[in-house]
Amino acid sequence: MATLDFAQLWSPLRLTLELATLTTLLLLVVGTPIAWWLARSKARWKEAVAAIVAMPIVLPPTVLGFYLLLLLGPQGPGGALAGLWGARTLAFTFEGLVLGSLIYSMPFVVQPIRNAFEAIGDRPLEVAATLRASPWDTFWSVAVPLARPGFMTAAVLGFAHTVGEFGVVLMIGGNIPGKTKVLSVAIYDFVETQRWQEAHILAGGMVVFSFVVILAMLVIERRTARVGT
């Protein structure tokens, strides 16, 4: 049996953590205004927007991967964007993976925040308005603190879902060590080359990680319920 190569285990692990962290932070920034609008808007077509945001839940990752490969490529907008710094394509890059992950994990961040905003209801916001708080102030001092459990759920789910991403990365990543070879792809490679010892270490780690994530979710939920009463 081949000896364990820890660099081969650590590199995809670190890359995955970087990808998931960056994606989660960006999604909290991008997703919050979307969630707020979805929660507060009276527009009739807002559910159409909600449906678009939620679509990656239903779409097979191969569909996302296929279109991303074309969109990121030389003939797509991604290629034009990459042209700004002299590259031809956004596929096979860490930036490309971040872009793909944003789309892939967006519903898991937007939905919990939207739910949390909706649960606040009109009353606290009206009270804040009568106290002459500006909408901006109301948002930060009232809505965000009240929706904090929603933000925590969103961050945990967004992070975990990005860690678990496989199909999209497989299709647009190009399996480059240190750049696009993330955990799930590394596990796939280890299984395919019958290096099951390494596969077990990473896959077993994922099992523990998933358990911790779900446990954390449940604890957040319970604590929220207690605060509410």
């Binding site: 490529g73 290629g79 031809r88 394509t89 596929a91 190009g174 399996n175 480059i176 395919e192 080359t193």
Partner: protein, 250 residues
Amino acid sequence: MSAPPIARIFLAALLLLAGLAPARAADVKVAVAANFTDPVKEIGQGFEKSTGHKLILSFGATGQFYAQITQGAPFEVLISADQATPAKAIAEGYAVAGTAFTYAVGKLALFSKTAGAVAGETTLKEAKFAKLSIANPATAPYGAAAIETMKALGVYEALAPKIVQGNNIAQAFQFVDTGNAEVGFVALSQIAFVEGGSRWIVPANLHKPIAQDVVLLKAGANNETAKAFLQYLKSPDARRVIEKFGYGID
């Protein structure tokens, strides 16, 4: 030329004798290495027409299939992209000894969608491209052959940062086909009927021969149709198709 009538009658008689066997015995579940996708479809049509049996084809990477076979996947024939995997399958008891043979010798090609972009080994030495697509060398023989070729030409160190890997040779081609990589090492069989672009057929002395073996798996040990399909792969009809797609014959 199809099997002589006497052979067909014999086969039919065998199937009649096996009348109590499940009706699906006339199906063969075949795991096919991605590079052989197009040829096996055409060969399969000939086989189905001349025997009336049906092939159920699954396409993927050889290594992936092997991992599945060790866990009881129901494949009856493995059309591998290498010789090592069928040999290993026999050694580890997943395939029937004495049934492996080389059905094709693969040819590696450097390919670009752009006319004139690939001119020969100078293309690799000048390296006027950003991304070079290859199949995963750890699992795909065409990927390993691509690495060997670059090393033989002394350009591997220089090109390594430009390499992107497809999970198998089909994906390596797809990266080139979508333009995400300007050039790529692909199987000649994949571009045998692709018009335009530019290509360089890598001389066979730059890498170890890509001898591709097929083997009867344990799940198909008693399936006469599976055995008949292995025989059919050696037939002149099948060989004509294999050569047409740019493979050599052992």
